[in-house]
């Protein structure tokens, strides 16, 4: 009788494991037409809109809503930009700050400025002179993705490094 109970418990455990593993298999969600798997912690992690300043040097970093904090991935990108700038001492850059459309216009101008400066400050800690870096905020005026939805908005919350000369 004890053995029968044990078998039942084991069977229940196995069933539970199967059910749980079936739930865990889902890693991407679809909302409307957009796949949210390219967003982590409200920050865009994909490369659809990314351009390259040089081989292996992405030109932009992304931000969470209302934030100007640099993620680990952003800092990694900026270190690559700094290395490239150290190798090419005659290149000056402009860092642009941008926001998504889901905010008031004037505050977004200020937030864009904050984002651009976050990127600039990080480049400066890696030895790039502030004289080589100018900053411009476009607020929400120049989205790269003209759509309306979480994916478009995450692609628009960005700081882009552009060659100035």
């Amino acid at each position: 009788m004890v053995l029968g109970n044990s078998i039942r418990s084991i069977l229940l455990l196995i069933m539970a494991a199967i059910i749980l593993s079936a739930c865990a298999a889902k890693t991407t969600k679809k909302v409307g037409d957009y796949s949210i798997s390219q967003i982590s912690g409200d920050t865009y992690t994909g490369d659809e809109t990314v351009k390259y300043l040089a081989t292996g040097v992405p030109d932009r970093v992304f931000f969470a809503t209302n934030k100007s904090i640099l993620t680990t991935a952003s800092r990694d990108t900026l270190r690559k930009q700094a290395a490239w700038l150290r190798e090419n001492k005659n290149i000056n850059i402009t860092v642009e700050g941008h926001c998504d459309e889901r905010g008031t216009r004037e505050y977004n101008l200020a937030l864009g400025e904050r984002r651009a400066n976050a990127a600039k400050d990080y480049l400066m800690t890696y030895g790039i002179s502030g004289n080589r870096i100018s900053v411009i905020s476009y607020g929400k005026e120049r989205p790269v993705n003209a759509g309306s939805g979480p994916l478009a908005w995450s692609q628009n919350r960005r700081s882009v490094t552009v060659k100035a000369n």
Binding site: G103, Y107, E113, R114
Partner: protein, 444 residues
Amino acid sequence: MKNVFFLFFLFVVFFAKSSFALVEIDITRGNLNPLPIAVSPLYVESKSSEVLKELEVGSEIAKIIETNLSRSGLFSPLEKDSFVQKPDIAHLKPRFEDWKLIKAQALITGKVNITSEKLRIEFRLWDVLAAKEIMALAFTTVPDNWRRVAHIITDKIYKRLTGEDGYFDTRIIYVAEKGPKNQRIKKLAIMDQDGKNTKYLTLGNELVLTPRFNPTNQMVTYMSYFRNLPRVYLLDIETGVQEVVGEFPGMTFAPRFSPDGKKIIMSFAKDGNSDIFTMNLETRVVERITEHPAIDTSPSYSPDGKYICFNSDRSGYQQIYVMRSDGSDVKRITFGQGIYGTPVWSPRGDLIAFTKMYKNRFYIGVMRIDGSGERLLTENYYQEAPSWSPNGRVLIFYRETKSGSQGEGFSATLWSIDLTGYNERLVETLTDASDPSWSSLLSK
């Protein structure tokens, strides 16, 4: 007890009926019954040979008055086909019984004299139920000004019947937009508040944002990306001359005039941080008003110039703060759910209008200057940046629509709504539009 109630009922009915003798409108109540008003075409006394052209002016002026009154939501202009009396006779002595028959409670009649050099417009406002004239005025001006006279007449009528200053002899400055959503072409545009007489003040070669009038409505301050340097500018509407405000070594934005027109208040961004500064236009002296590592922007003076409300994220998210105009005594006034932006002080001094964002929806609302009495007037997918009519009774703001993945279906439009939350309506513009700002009364 029942008898007392019955007597009281009679008492109320009797007095209520006699109060109709002097037509009056209370615009602070919601859910009004618009006052039925008859606007007779103005009768033209012709002394020149251009009879047809003059005849049009008479009915055009009446049409402007009628449309203005109708758009206020407080009046219900009656159909002209039902008018029994001809304009010239009605202007001399209206047969009130005829006007009562078509249910008019107020009547406007008038007369126009026009020569090549001069325009004289006379109007009378009649209380139909009391059967008497309650206002009679005449205006003389150059013929080109006939639209403005129609707006001024509307203001006079509005004031006589509501007790409040009107807002019809005013203009609206805004940003005219067109093009794909990620490469918008923007120009400064100005128009009469009824949507007519649109003029463009910039060419569209650079981004322009958030224009505002000065108190005399002769200058505009706005933000421009001219030469890729985002700065606050000053524009003379008459001459078209533009000049950058001050010599700031970084982005300046969100500009407004002080109530005396002597200063421009704005945000200045340095090393990533935005603080509020003023610049005296005459002395060129720049004063710092806020000093805080948080974003401080969207400053707006109280009408007496003693206080400033502004937007700051010093508590973590966008909230509204009030401080003295020297920057002292900063107090947060918004504590509700959601985040708040674009605060703008009413010209009456009693309220602050704002944009609120909550659960991915946008609201236009008002609150008392201490933050109490928050009232949300309208909700939308996206709307922001209210601006007050000069009588502090109407707000104009803009909306944007959701768009498809390539930006298709995107549009930006201007809307107005009464303080009561009623009479929400589209403000017609020739193109897409955003960032509207209302002038003060032109004739003051």
